[in-house]
Amino acid sequence: MSKLYTGAEIVFKCMEDQKVEFIFGYPGGAVLPIYDELKNHDTIKHILVRHEQGAGHAAEGYARSCGKPGVVLVTSGPGATNVVTALTDAYMDSIPLVCISGQVPTHLIGTDAFQECDTTGITRPCTKHNWLVKDVKDLAKTIHKAFEVATTGRPGPVLVDIPKDIQFQKSKYTNFIKQKKLNGKSNNRFSQKDIDKLIEMMSKAKQPIFYTGGGVINSGPKASEQLRELVSITGFPITSTLQGLGSFPGDDTQFLGMLGMHGTYEANNAMHDCDLMINIGARFDDRITGKIDEFSPKSKKVHIDIDPSSINKNVKVDLPIVGDVSEVISLLIKTIKKHKTNFLKSNKENISKWWEQIGKWRSVNSLNFINSDKTIKPQFAIQRLYELTKNKDTFITTEVGQHQMWAAQHYKFDKPNRWMTSGGLGTMGYGLPAAVGVQIAHPDKLVVDIAGEASVLMTMQEMSTAVQYNLPIKIFILNNEYMGMVRQWQELLHEKNYSESYTAALPDFVKLAEAYGCVGIRAKTPDELDQKIQEMIDVKKPVIFDCLVDKEENCFPMIPSGKPHNQMLLGPKDQKENKITGKGKTLV
């Protein structure tokens, strides 16, 4: 007779077979048998967080920076409800997470037992799938299925709820051999005909643009390389969503910068005026499209996405291609090379006027700002941070708000998986725990959380985690004492009624850093900024960097609510010089 294992042992057997190295978690009554088993498995290291939301975001940061699924372990009731924000965040941004939650024993389910909640009910709409395991014989199968669901197709979070009695019960375990190449194959529903059609459209286009998103990153590092090749052999301009940053080098001349609500003037105008839009792994999010009825009215649209339900959801497209980005681009490049040897040459002539027009938009220099020698401008702070860290293969996470947009605009990424930000859900408090997860995956790399003082206070307790595991994360706070993005909307749209957007009693972040046992640094003026940033980089400990910035700076350019791409608000310099016209201006 083969050996019998307890449910808790099976959980670890599964994780070993799935090559899990780290679990982010927090113990509690209903997962104690699993925690008891932890000591017997050397290859798996548990990272103790300070709040289950932090475990979820740390696992997200881990997953996004290294491409492997993040694993979370929480207890029943409050443990499970606390992780819901992170699961929803991962669901919106397509991040593979496997969350294992404890549950009260099966005979107590439904009795309102201590720390009982309907975990599978609560997490049903924010996971790809979830399971309540009621029989120990199903446990191994379920956990392996959970990893498969999380990592295949469009990735996302899953949850396995395991009642405490199941963790004690015994069953057999047969070793699991992970199938290779699950991703892609089963999701590719395109044919050579689609690719030929696309190439025909591309060769006819006079004003084409690539619009790329997080799908390129999720498709793996190879997809980013292929994208670079594709863009270079076509000579087309390319813009990226917030989540796609890094899949194409931010300082390349063909890159127009980020598009969308706070995207560049050239990217948004090019999207509006193009005659061929090739969407690769993006989802026509409302922060990107603005007013749908007036979104890129003249263009033929091609949509390459692994998720068939993304096609025609928000914007009707002319050519849908359902498949893994990497596989689609690789066939596309192969076909171009085979048939259209002088594609690049003929295209250059075709689209030279288009590049001229883009050059005009570019000359507006929409990311500019009026710098100051007295106060630190937040954009300047990010530019300096970029200049001082760009040669270090730096990993950046962010919280949510103005600082996030400034980081996206002014920090130039040239590799995928270096940029971790909460885009879909917009979760304040994401960046600090995410940085913890990134640093776990890349212990020797520089990891910086570009933060706002309001966001970072939401998950500040995770500094304690960083200190416990010697994770030298840098929390770079652009401190303007306001919830800046809220304040900006109130200034522009609610007659400067700054209702509850000012934080009157902020902690002293330097002392707070010291209280946590890490290093606090404060920068007050532009001339000391470089030296202080360098000091932050050189310290081999976690740092909270309190960068006191201009309190009233707004994030421009900006597409005001419900406006199309060609009606942008530009920064103060351009407003003075009267470069924006008509409708846009009346909104200021």
Partner: protein
């Protein structure tokens, strides 16, 4: 136009609404109906009627028939979103009024009244295969099968003949001829 204060765009033009019958084959497991129904409520889709039962006990497959209304874009989304659920095997979509499809709904009707009223009631139901399931001195329970709208009409007509209680199933559907939906 008044200036918008919202961070979101205004709703665009509304498309034309069609009624569709969506048939979903699912694993008959705990919570599967909640997943399907939750997808509809969570994404703001409409459910007019719902019928569900296991149809293949050996493989544990249930067949869910949902009548819904939406723009062509919404109907397309419903199908694609359903297709993504892990326990869903296949999704079929029929337009109401499609000649190749049979739709039927069953209703139980309880009528209280004298013999003459009850006979008149039976006459009203004649077209819809009435079956008398229960009969007493002053009451009758009828079973009819018909289309949703036909049952609506019958209910209206029966009011004056002592209709006191109605129980209806949701619509179920099947293709005509030898073909089956793969």
């Amino acid at each position: 136009m008044a200036k918008s204060k919202s961070a979101y765009s205004d709703p665009g033009k509304k498309g034309k609404l069609d009624t569709h019958i969506i048939v979903v084959w699912v694993d008959n497991e705990a919570g599967v109906l909640a997943r399907v129904v939750g997808l509809f409520s969570g994404r703001g889709y409409n459910i007019e009627s719902l019928a569900v039962a296991e149809v293949d006990p050996k493989r544990g497959i249930s067949r869910i028939t949902i009548v819904t209304t939406g723009t062509p874009q919404v109907i397309e989304q419903i199908k694609l979103q359903l297709g993504k659920l892990v326990p869903v095997h296949k999704v079929a979509d029929f337009m109401r009024g499609d000649k190749k499809i049979i739709f039927k709904e069953m209703a139980l009707l309880k009528l209280v009244g004298n013999t003459s009223k009850r006979n008149k009631a039976l006459k009203v139901c004649k077209k819809f295969n009435p079956v008398v399931l229960d009969k007493t001195q002053k009451s009758v329970v009828l079973q009819i099968t018909a289309l949703r709208r036909e049952i609506d009409n019958v209910m209206g007509d029966l009011k004056k003949f002592g209709l006191v209680s109605v129980s209806r199933t949701g619509a179920v559907a099947m293709t005509r001829g030898s073909e089956i939906f793969k």
